[in-house]
């Protein structure tokens, strides 16, 4: 098993402890979707304001899930439904593949926004994949 600090990179720690896109005040969202990980109790709500294209999140989740939700909200803000679906599918697909022997082999993440590569290590921690996937699987349920 890889080091715990390889999993909890500084980027993820920062995002998880102080997310920039948390909080969906009343009246913000035109569309919402909820997700829950029954195993660990993580709960997220992904909120989209279709008028501005902004995405935010709320909920109670572990640090990995919170960081993932924060990145998800940031990267999907301003995307069309189709572009959001493409990004979600690409990220979830990358998470599903075994990690390469070195970062240079990680073609899956190289083709996506660089911030997502911070999550590549979770593939060595299968039990935590659900935490990272949850916000993305949740936003995929948005009907807009």
């Amino acid at each position: 098993m890889s080091s715990i600090r390889a999993l909890y990179k500084e980027t993820l720690l920062a995002r998880g402890k102080a997310p920039s896109h948390r909080g969906a005040p009343e009246g913000f969202a035109t569309h919402t979707a909820r997700g829950e990980n029954a195993v660990c109790g993580d709960r997220v709500l992904m909120a989209l304001d279709l008028r501005t294209g902004r995405v935010r999140f709320s909920g109670h989740a572990c640090l990995l899930c919170t960081a993932s939700a924060d990145v998800c909200a940031e990267l999907t803000t301003g995307l069309s439904r189709e572009a959001r679906a493409t990004l979600v599918a690409s990220f979830l697909s990358a998470l599903a593949r075994p990690s390469g022997e070195s970062p240079a082999d990680d073609g899956d993440f190289a083709a996506m926004p660089s911030v997502l590569s911070a999550f590549s290590e979770v593939r060595n921690w299968p039990i935590r994949l659900g935490c990272v996937r949850l916000p993305w699987e949740t936003i995929a349920k948005l009907e807009a």
Partner: protein, 419 residues
Amino acid sequence: MSTVTDSAHGGSRDRVSGAKSPRSPERDYFPALVDPKRVYLDSAATTLVPSPVIDAVLSVYREGLGGVHRGVHALAARATERFELARQSIARHVGASEFHDVVLGRGTTEALNVLARGLSESLREGDEVLTSELDHHANIVSWQLATARVGAVVRVVPVDAHGVLSVEAVHEHLGPRTRVLALPHVSNVTGAILDVKSITGAARARGAIVIIDGAQAVRHLPVNVTELGCHAYVFGAHKTYGPNGVGVLVAERSLLEALPPLHGGGHMVTNVASHTSTLAPSPARHEAGSPNLEGVLGLEAALEYLHGARLRGAFERERVVARAVRSRLSSMGFLRLLGCAEPSVGIVSFVTIGMHAHDVAAFLDSEGIAVRAGRMCAHPLFERLGQSHAIRVSLSAHSDTDDLDTLEEALRGAQELFA
């Protein structure tokens, strides 16, 4: 004794005298603990298995035993004899009387469902089944499903703000329509021990059938179902140093004889025609299908191990470590223990202030420490306590102060990383 970890010598060292606390001698019985750095604190989920149990399980395959209650050849006869001797041994271990039968099934959850489904056949609309907020889902959902079929009602005895289920609260909730009282002997979250004997008399006087979930009790306490006075007591092998896939339902024979079986199949019938069958007497009528022979022999060996461990002082050592766990964790400012009931066994749950339990548990795992994180299949209790998740440390016969030292150091490491 105040200790510091001295990994070079193995075992803790007293801060003042420098004397070394030896590792628990019970560790030598567990092959999974051959790595001295492994700290297993998740016995409430499932216990590690000692060598005698492994040997008992493998003996079935090595000797070619099989066909319990089914063959006339020597291997089947031997298997049947071993199986029934194990049943008698299990009965003795839990203090079953001549008026009890021991049903050997697949687990605690199945045993509770056997009772719930069977008893629901005699419930009427408006009858009540009394459970508690302290219960594991197995003793909640099984009754919800069973009562919904007949329009009976599940009533829930609340715990107090500290997660304590009081005997007084149970008595207050016993009513004229209470037909079944089903409670946990030991909480899988707080470790609190329920004073079952103080409840069974009153419940019986009201005509209620008393069922006790002993899943967390048998590995920590000497259990005598006759003295407890309940109608039925259930527990599983895999939380009692035994193999997976075996559960025990020990109950009054009169109850089991009247209880409709949950499963139908071989062995639980004496005669089968195309359209009707004659049920076998208890316990056979509740043991449909081929039994888990290796599991039952493993459970027998587990209970024998437990008896020996108790004679070697393991129960008392575990109590000492449990007191130390509560004392030292409660002194760590970034933790808050859940529940404060005494008496209790070595199960301690706590919330990590400013950190998510899942992250902390992952960090502990990276340090070789196995704990449980989440809501422990006890959602109503967590709802009452206003918590969404916690970490649970659950001790075993092999737990020692060295485990606690390692845990404490790792918790501080987690705080440095996550807080």
